[in-house]
């Protein structure tokens, strides 16, 4: 195994007074403008003083301490870590797009792209209108629930404050409901991973604002009673919210609007391959059916004749308002647009097809190797769950141990311990852009790790062995908070 990499010092530890990247400093400008003394800073901020090469080398070396899609297979369930085409970045960074101030006259070329993106998203989700403003999935969720709330209020139906979520829901669902001033009612799933219909019937009523669902669910299976779920909720006066986290699984195969959903958020950083960037920026466009159209967050791109313009509060007086300082994560949206043009009509359908092919293939291979699928009677969607509860009992290894050991084999870990209701679980999402050979290599590693469980379990419990660091002391991190560098006294 490769030997442990040396630790990269903090940038502050490379700093020396008087050093700097001089060519980056603007020329001094003659003049007498000054900050009044009482508003002036007392001492300069403690920023590093390094040469340009030192900075370049430091941050390049930090980059080399990361796993990424460009370097590793990244089967992280529910995150859709597919290839991020380089063209999407290159064209989004054309100088005219990059240098454009958002408050200048409406840029027709850029807005044509945004308008077409809205139209395409509307078509593939079966919705009536789209706003690109939300800056992440969680903000899209917020927008969706805020629209639902505004809809009920506009009808003077003031008692609807309850959001129903299945147990398996992503944590943002209940957190979003709370941010919108709603309460959360959790309902169980049945043994096959479907929403428990009886529990749903018992849960709905005059307080129901909406149900939030992901379909395929976070359990990796398609909710096949979705039409019945929609009927029950609609008849009770509630609306249906589609969490687009797993849209990759059904792209072009079935449209949320046709399933009966009233509102959807789409994680453009998942299905439409904009970069995850080490944790953002995402983009969480929202689509709505006819009932919620007046409430879309602003701005939205409108078209009048051949001219595009931003629709604002003047055009949408019932809008839930603005969620960002400008137009959301415009550059991310542009990357999603470019990706969609590269894929086209047929390419989008192939996304779901090959995502499903890869997931089902990997699930079968792992089952054949002795791993237990959480829902063996079901098709995998674009992802599936392996539960290690048997291995946990037999060998005392945990899902976390397997996850960490996979890093040593050069694979990013699958999602662990989510969804919470499956014990010792790995949620595995290979995506459509991985080749069969890479899936096979991953299976081989899992088989090898399975062998180690029985023969050398300490290799798992002490993994990873080849990363820049071993397992970190999270308890100490939270108890002895060290959140910012301070110079030695």
């Amino acid at each position: 195994m490769p030997e442990l990499q040396a630790r990269e010092p903090l940038i502050f530890e490379l700093s020396k007074p008087g050093r700097g990247a001089g060519t980056q400093f603007p020329p001094r400008v003659a003049g007498s403008a000054e900050i009044p003394a009482h508003l002036r800073r007392a001492a300069p901020p403690l920023l590093p003083e390094v040469s340009e090469l030192q900075a370049v080398r430091h941050f390049t070396r930090l980059s080399q301490m990361n796993f990424s899609i460009d370097t590793h297979f990244y089967p992280l369930g529910s995150c859709t870590m597919k290839y991020n085409p380089k063209a999407c970045n290159s064209f989004a960074m054309l100088p005219e797009f990059l240098g454009r101030h958002p408050l200048g006259p409406e840029p027709q070329g850029f807005m044509a792209c945004m308008y077409e993106l809205q139209e395409m998203l509307q078509e593939i989700t079966g919705m009536r209108g789209v706003s690109l403003t939300p800056m992440a999935g969680a903000q899209g969720e917020f927008a969706g629930v805020a629209m639902i709330r505004a809809y009920h209020r506009a009808r003077n139906d003031l008692g609807r404050n309850e959001i129903i979520v299945p147990q398996a829901a992503h944590g943002t669902n209940p957190a979003t409901a709370a941010m919108c001033g709603c309460t959360v009612k959790e309902i169980p799933c049945d043994a096959d991973g479907n929403v428990d219909i009886d529990a749903l019937k018992a849960a709905v009523g005059p307080a129901t604002a909406a149900i939030m669902l992901t379909n395929p669910s976070t359990l990796g299976v398609f909710e096949h009673k979705i039409v019945e779920v929609a009927r029950i909720v609609h008849e009770a006066g509630g609306l249906l919210y589609y969490d687009g986290a797993n849209l990759n699984a059904i792209l072009g195969k079935v449209r949320p609007g046709d399933m009966g959903f009233d509102v959807i958020h789409i994680n453009l950083h998942k299905t439409f391959s904009t970069p995850h960037g080490g944790g953002g920026p995402g983009s969480g466009a929202v689509g709505v059916g006819a009932r919620l159209l007046p409430f879309l967050p602003i701005p939205v791109v409108g078209k009048e004749g051949a001219r595009f313009r931003w629709l604002t509060e003047r055009d949408l007086p019932q809008s839930i308002g603005r969620l960002s300082g400008f137009m959301g994560n415009a550059g991310v949206n542009l990357r999603a647009y470019i990706y969609m043009r590269l894929l086209g009509r047929d390419g989008m359908v192939r996304v779901a097809e090959f995502a499903a092919l890869n997931a089902n293939y990997l699930m079968k291979r792992l089952q054949a190797a002795g791993f237990e699928a959480a829902y063996p009677g079901r098709r995998a969607s674009h992802e599936f769950i392996i539960t290690l509860k048997r291995e946990n009992k037999l060998y005392h290894v945990t899902a976390m141990d397997v996850a960490k050991r996979l890093l040593d084999y050069g694979f990013h870990a699958p999602t662990t311990y989510f969804p919470l209701l499956v014990p010792e679980c790995l949620l595995i999402e290979p995506t459509e852009t991985e080749a069969k050979e890479d899936l096979d290599r991953f299976c081989d590693a899992m088989i090898e790790i399975r062998r180690e469980m029985a023969t050398e379990p300490e290799k798992l419990s002490s993994a990873p062995h080849t990363m820049p660091v071993r397992r970190l002391d999270d308890v100490r991190a939270a108890k002895q908070l060290d959140l910012a560098w301070k110079p030695a006294a």
């Binding site: 990247a21 900050i35 800056m135 917020f142």
Partner: protein, 462 residues
Amino acid sequence: MAFIPHTPDDVARMLELIGVRSIDDLFDEIPGELRAGVLGVPPAMSEMEVGRLLSERAAGDGRPLNFIGAGAYEHHIPAPVWAITTRGEFYSAYTPYQAEASQGTLQLIYEYQSMICALTGMEVSNASLYDGASALAEACLMAVRANRAANSRRILLPRAVNPVYAQVAQSIAGNQDIVFETVDFDRSTGCTLLDSLQSYGGQDVTALVVQQPNFFGNLEEVDQLTDWAHQNKVLLIAVVNPTSLALLKAPGQWGTPSGGHQGADIVCGEGQPLGVPLSSGGPYFGFMATRMQYVRQMPGRIVGRTVDTEGRPGFSLTLQAREQHIRRSKATSNICTNQGLMVTAATIYMSLLGAEGLARVAAASLQRTADLVARLARVPGVKPAFSAQRFHEAVLLLDRPAAPVLAALARRGIFGGLDLAERYPELGPALLVCATETKLDVDIDAYAGALTDIMNSSRAAA
């Protein structure tokens, strides 16, 4: 096939192992009546064709000479910033949940948090939020949690704070019954009126927001505002421009000596000036910092330094018990991402500039704006609106509506500023203009020359 590596032989072998005859069989759990027809989206294009389309559209939008600020600022971005930020290892990595395989991103965020603390004079920073406007909304929600002395959920939001920020705060925080009350500004100085705060003295108020420099570019008397807040058990939320902090008093030191220099309680703002391109409106990032005593009320990710099982230093996400994936409906916010890639750019930017470079950027911007205002004020029909000391923006009053003047400037390739007619009708025809270090004498001359022509010709036409 676009980005699909499978050969027909691969597909056949995979289907055989799965035990189905076609890929379509994998979707047999979807009820037939729900299956979609042919999508109404255009057919695929090659990379070359998409490149041509995008280049043409970009060229049509042009590269105007920009004098608009209003929350997004044009600065020089050193070449290494995006060359490194777009490395695949940063660009295509996920959130650093697997800490051992994400030490690069985690260490970078720790360095970023340290730099934000240094700039703001605060003890702790998070790993960033979506943008400046939503950061203020989150700061307001945080203030409600942090200020245990107040029950009113009332927040004082001066009109001199960016009006879009006020709208966003209302959209986001308004759903939790937070009430925003406006505080007027002085028409001659363009600064928040301390007098109009007095009526709130002794009342149950959660927080006061102070933007420095304010939306008009003017410098507020932050020490007095901070003292007032603390004397009245009101938390002080500072909204600041990070470039300006190279020269301006850090919010952590706001307050007079007699008030004990207590400093702001929560500091937030738009991080875009730190190496992030204007990019037609985003993505940017919001920053947030606070006192250690409020760290558990702060939303968003936080990275901490700790040790591994062999005692070596390393970094991990910490205090996750505040977050949605653990606390669900009791979380501090529903936020699960930060703006990681933007923070990467900002951290490299701050490292290259350092305190001296950033101070040079701030000083050049200050001087260029002073030069711009002096030049434009000599144009007939144009005068500065306010007397307060400015940073790198200013309001100019015109003797006629601003919209046609701006349209005429745009036809000459100049973005002359932001029309304030809709947001601040009481000012009369007014423009918010900005010049940073990127504007040279020749640019300011070009603007002044064009404005002179336009003002003269529209006068002649009248």
